[in-house]
Symmetry: C2
Subunit: 358 residues, 2 copies
């Protein structure tokens, strides 16, 4: 009766293909950090390597790179959060390329004595998170700059298509071109993809879009959903008018009300901000019917109001908190956050049993 995640790897591959076709002048790398945002880094990387010939992957940490190396034998694997000295053994053993983001990191890299791996360099273009400045990059020698195989930066406002800061960042990145004439350049992740071909540079880093987040308006209609999340129904209960529900009595029945208790909660990554806001779904005659979450989301249980649903739902054994009509983005909106956080928290929670399709 543990909650269950159905993960459609064919849909991931389909979405990856959409990105490739949309950015024909660039290579499309797959971002599989954070265990492929919870979906399973090995499974996703293997699928894209085998079926889609993907040969470039981004993770955050060396241990994440080591995890996918067995299924991506000759691919380039980059470590977005750089490295420290404790990572050097993994880096050597699994041939991982750190993304260096500061002169400090570059100096540590030189001290490591590794010469057969070309690191990437993150450069500042306006996000002010990680990356060396133009002045710092200029101060490196030609020989030092030639060590880098990939120059990378990251957009701050790619989800705001009209924001002029996108163009500003693109122009900033262009300045580095003359410093690194032989390196590949990369600016856009999933949400930069839709900004146009001049944002694609040499390498687009696809993550969120592949996993079903609607980050790319020109492609959102063709995208397939990847995640479906099924939970057990624990109990059906009839309430009287005036009865209160759940912690701190945040919901009061305004009429005779039928509720179901479902076996899922914030321990499973279902954010507590969904209290009295989110929805759950049931299968009924081949369609989805929807019930509102009532009362507080608690650690292992949520409650929903099925008073207006067909009588048969009272005995439904299963409910769905994510499906093809209520997506990660929908839950993110209802929870007051973004689909990325929902995806990462739910899919990395410990209890979900994962079943892969494709």
């Amino acid at each position: 009766m543990l909650p269950k995640l159905y993960i459609d790897l064919d849909a991931v591959a389909h979405n990856y293909e959409l990105c490739k076709n949309f950015a024909p002048s660039a290579q499309v790398a797959a971002v599989v950090k954070d265990n492929a945002y919870g979906l399973g880094a090995r499974e996703v990387a293997q699928k894209l390597y085998r079926d889609k010939n993907c040969r470039r992957f981004f993770v955050a940490y060396a241990s994440e790179g080591a995890e996918i190396r067995p299924v991506t034998p000759d691919a380039d694997i980059y470590l977005l959060n750089g490295f420290d000295t404790t990572d050097i053994d993994l880096i050597k053993q699994f041939n991982l390329a750190p993304v260096l983001s500061s002169i400090d990191q570059f100096e540590k890299w030189q001290q490591s004595g590794i010469s057969n791996i070309k690191p990437a360099l993150q450069v500042e273009s306006g996000l002010h998170r990680l990356g060396v400045s133009y002045e710092e990059a200029s101060a490196l020698s030609d020989a030092q700059r030639e060590q880098f195989g990939l120059i990378l930066s990251h957009l701050a406002c790619a989800d705001e298509e009209q924001n002029p800061f996108n163009e500003h960042q693109k122009q900033e990145l262009m300045r580095y071109k003359s410093l690194f004439p032989n390196a590949l350049f990369s600016l856009s992740a999933s949400d930069g993809l839709g900004l146009g071909a001049d944002f694609h540079f040499d390498v687009v880093r696809a993550g969120a879009f592949m996993y079903g987040l609607k980050t790319c308006p020109p492609l959102n209609d063709k995208q397939k959903q990847v995640v479906c999340a099924e939970v057990s129904v624990l109990q059906s209960k009839q309430l009287q008018t005036g009865d209160t529900i759940g912690y701190n009595q945040t919901f009061t029945a305004k009429r005779p009300t039928r509720i179901l208790a479902l076996s899922v909660g914030y321990a499973d990554g279902m954010l507590r901000t969904l209290s009295n806001k989110g929805s759950v779904f049931f299968k009924y005659n081949g369609n989805w019917v929807k019930a509102p979450i009532v009362g507080r989301v608690s650690m292992d249980i949520i409650l929903c109001d099925i008073t207006d649903l067909p009588k048969e739902i009272e005995t439904a054994p299963k409910a769905f908190i994510l499906n093809d009509v209520y997506t990660l983005d929908d839950m993110g909106r209802d929870a007051g956050t973004i689909g990325y956080e929902v995806l990462s928290l739910i899919c990395n929670s410990r209890r979900w049993q994962k079943e892969y399709i494709g």
Copy 2:
């Protein structure tokens, strides 16, 4: 450079002892569901079984019960989320007692033919989440009612000491006493403990308080913190007045500003609502110094403003997002939620390396 959790099992045992001394007329059971709220169910259960003679444990699912059975050989283990037929093998093999919450579940239990395990029964006292009503319990035969070893209910507003609903729920539970004259009774979890001895009944279910949440005002001063969370510093960066930081430019430097990028984010359970709200800490001359989080919390990185801190912090290799002065409750407040959610999301996130003390 993965983020690191220090988990003080001696502090857990100390906090458990505080509960025991505060509820001398009751047994204190340990709630270790959800992997002991992320801290490690096996480690916590073993500590309490060995060092504190704890012989009663609550988990949510059968698989969680199976996980702690090897370290709690002769203890009673209860399954708060009940059972379904797929759990029966685990229940038999590991001698687990489901908490039945509906007549449906009771009928399924009888059909299972298991006779050597005494289940618990959850009864309705006002939370309206799980539990049979007084009328349903009354309709059972004497022989059926005698099958239950423990009668359990749960408070809705235990964190609101003055709420009369607490007394109402206690009185409701008392009504069931005559129906189950030989069973143990349990009403209070960690937050009901402080409401007074008449809320303790036979079994108090201690969870959150043991793990460092301040749920029991009479004991909060004596409680020890359990979790300390350390993350790597990725980069130090100097900003100019007017520079914006992070996704969607939600923070603008109003003066020359020194920021540090830290290797942790919402993929590690650090809620995105901490954007521009939370704090991080550094060790300096044996004390803690504090820096505000600036800009959006992103998936793997957060930024903090160290402009007002001693110069040496610029080269600090590590920062702390939870410690003994900035607790789970503090982070919960800053994130607009409760410490329970913070504890469960952070400690169950996949990347944290756990180091146990005690």
